[in-house]
Symmetry: C2
Subunit: 533 residues, 2 copies
Amino acid sequence: MRSLKKTVLLAILVSVVLVLALIHSWPARAYTTVDVWQQLAPVVERNVEDRLPLLDHQLSNIPFHVKTSVASLLPRNGCVCEGESGGINLPFVQLLFPRVSAHPLHTAFNASDLGEMKTRRAKEYESFQRRLKSPADVLLIAEANSPLQYPTQGLEVRPLKTTIIPGLALHDAPRDHYTVSLTATLGTINVAAEVDAVKIKGDGEMHMSLSSSLLPNLNRQLQFVTYTNTLFHPSTVDTVQFKTEGHEAAFSIKIRHGVTPKLYNTGSIGEYNVSALVTIATKTFLRYEKLQNLIDSIRRYYPTVTIIIADDSENPQTISGPYIEHYIMPFGKGWFAGRNLAVSQVTTKYVLWVDDDFIFTAKTKLEKLVDVLERTTLDLVGGAVQEATGYTATYRQTISIEPGEEDGDCLHLRRGFYHVVQGFPNCVVTDGVINFFLARTEKVQQVGFDPRLARVAHLEFFIDGLGSLHVGSCDDVIVNHATKIKLPWVSQSESEKTSFMPSAGFCFKLSSVGGLWRTQMWKALLGGRNSIS
Amino acid sequence: MRSLKKTVLLAILVSVVLVLALIHSWPARAYTTVDVWQQLAPVVERNVEDRLPLLDHQLSNIPFHVKTSVASLLPRNGCVCEGESGGINLPFVQLLFPRVSAHPLHTAFNASDLGEMKTRRAKEYESFQRRLKSPADVLLIAEANSPLQYPTQGLEVRPLKTTIIPGLALHDAPRDHYTVSLTATLGTINVAAEVDAVKIKGDGEMHMSLSSSLLPNLNRQLQFVTYTNTLFHPSTVDTVQFKTEGHEAAFSIKIRHGVTPKLYNTGSIGEYNVSALVTIATKTFLRYEKLQNLIDSIRRYYPTVTIIIADDSENPQTISGPYIEHYIMPFGKGWFAGRNLAVSQVTTKYVLWVDDDFIFTAKTKLEKLVDVLERTTLDLVGGAVQEATGYTATYRQTISIEPGEEDGDCLHLRRGFYHVVQGFPNCVVTDGVINFFLARTEKVQQVGFDPRLARVAHLEFFIDGLGSLHVGSCDDVIVNHATKIKLPWVSQSESEKTSFMPSAGFCFKLSSVGGLWRTQMWKALLGGRNSIS
């Protein structure tokens, strides 16, 4: 009887464990089903009408049946952040039932300040939009059955320089006389060579016309048409009109400097020379013992790699040693300010970010991370951080911003990744990673760590990097985390927080005209738990 | 007799002065005439052929006459840096007869290292080019007389999201049956709504075809075609093929995140609150007295503006005071490292760069510079620096890079500017300015000061900023320069050098595969006069 009881108890225990494991690994629901799709048909129609100046209104009486599975994917006017409401706030419930949380951020402001703050921010946002707008984003449609042949993409000229406009031709039906004209706004049109029997008018001006009774001659002449940028701007676009009787076309010419490469000396060709390729960067505050442990552990494996330390402690101690660069900051200047300082000083191709309470082990093979960046187009690759308990975290996060209306865009953060990196089975592509990563110095410096984020911040760097950084994460390069284990619901220090984030994801409404003052973001999230300037 | 002699002498003196003034203000020769144009006709033809896949070879027998004035402006294969050779190297000759100097930079390397260095750099440059290449730069030509109507510009979708493809239509001659197809490579094609009498095949796949016997219905269906990005990449372009019998077209869809605005709190709306808008940044090295004079002079006019000081002196002294942030760096870390550090810490909308030996006066009205940046799209605006002699310099430089071949691009630096800023008669647009400027913090942080430039550097920042920074220069905001007058041919400190640059310009051959190790550039220029790591 006793052995039966034991077996039953064991069976129950095993089942419970299995169920827990099953629940924990249950894939997060497809995110699109959380949002509510309203008024499908009119939105689809409106979407189309808004974006289709040449909409053939003759067709509007032809009926259609909305295909919901596709139409629901289209951007709507406004976005909705809906979290799963309710649920008990017990510790392990979060582990077992990861939730998506929704946070309206406008609650970060005092009610009295809110009005003026919104006005000020609206003004700044408006300036931003004006400066961002480009003629290269205008919707252009190629007309059907037009005798005009012209380039639609790929034209570029350096500021104040000249280029041939390739691909221009007129394929008209036979007639007595053929005429074409070209009009620019930021430059002039000319010809690099002249062809007999073609009359040129306005060469060297913003509007030039060519005419001939011989179509082959006209087309030969069109092979020598040039564009010269005359109104200086370091980065802009000119839209050229190309016309003939009854037809017109428009195409863009990018006016911009070439990209000057920033190249780094990688050390001798052969095996990866980590000291030549990598600088280790960290920020420290009031814990020199942990910092020294980190340095000692690094030196065991990489005796000559440069370590850059940004330090905003109150009474800074001296940290010395070969290949150590110690930077003293004003007391408490801040977390991201320190990170920005450290990376601003890196002179190698790659920078490795570590927190000051990490410990290098034999599994912390930087060569593996270097290999990923050397052989892919990834800009940044995260590793894994192992806690004292053995729990290892890569903290992969996907990030996307869904455009909204005046009340703000929706920022979606979800744990997970997009796909595996080809050739690197232990690595995936994602948008955000844990605070242990190797990255191209140039890219990290361009994105930057916003020095206004003084206390708690992590994903802001990856949010700022959206569109610039191609991010990867590998789970086979592991660094140890020296800090003792803490319970997830207790207030945590900066790096600890990143290791205990069991929620499936967050959705933030970026309040008011699509932007917000940075320091307010996390203040709202944490309900004022951290003092932020 | 004596008074006649005096008058004659006076007349001669006046004439000499007039002649000197005339020579000094003589406009620099138009730069294009310095370069030599060789083999015009074949280059023009080759230019055209290289870039024109659809060149109608039937036309190649039609002769043309090269129009030299235009053809000479076209980019050639390779670039040439030619300076004016000869001339005596007396001090004032440079002032009187500004020369254009040409510097081949490959001379910066030891002959023994050169081979391997070139190989290493070629490899890095190749990686750079691979990462830079985009399908959005491919030359696409719109076919004439095609029944296809389609968008040629302006399509954009966020990664893994869906968009309607606007503007698709078929305007075919009447026939029994109409068929079109769309093919993508980084995503799938689908329809958001279905229309009667149209057969859809491959919806939700990379290749979809639509067919119907009723053209209006087919065109109605084409209004609901969607594109969904399925292969994740944070910033890329998909080229879609749109085909019907006998005709095809291609167009691009940009796949990228939106730009998240970085907005700054500008202080209350009304007059410019310089303390809220501006942070003053500087770097100091071994001259605390000058630095203190600078700070005292700033405080006379701006008592609460934040001053950030990057300091790599050997035995750093304490600099204290309200609104002062002092950063201690490793001894001699370097000039641009210090600049990069200082700007990495700025939390206001604008940053004002000053050298540590400047003195603010009543003419140093920062509000004027703020006004320029608030009311134009300029990113950076320089002021003027006045020497003890009264000589005031704005050091305006235009910069352009002319593409070359394997032996390198040509970097052209010339004193001067492009045009006056509308609404600001004392301000002009240029590419580089003196080391006294106000700039948008975000843009300066993005461009960055390359920390590898340890000793002498100035224009590198503006070279790095080409294409990103829209630069202005105003001569009515003046700061004083505290350092004593030095003769131009004597070795100068960093900031002094910028005030004595009488040459009309420089042309550098950026040696070898279009890039070079940064530290070598100025080493070559100065003939090794400064030690650079």
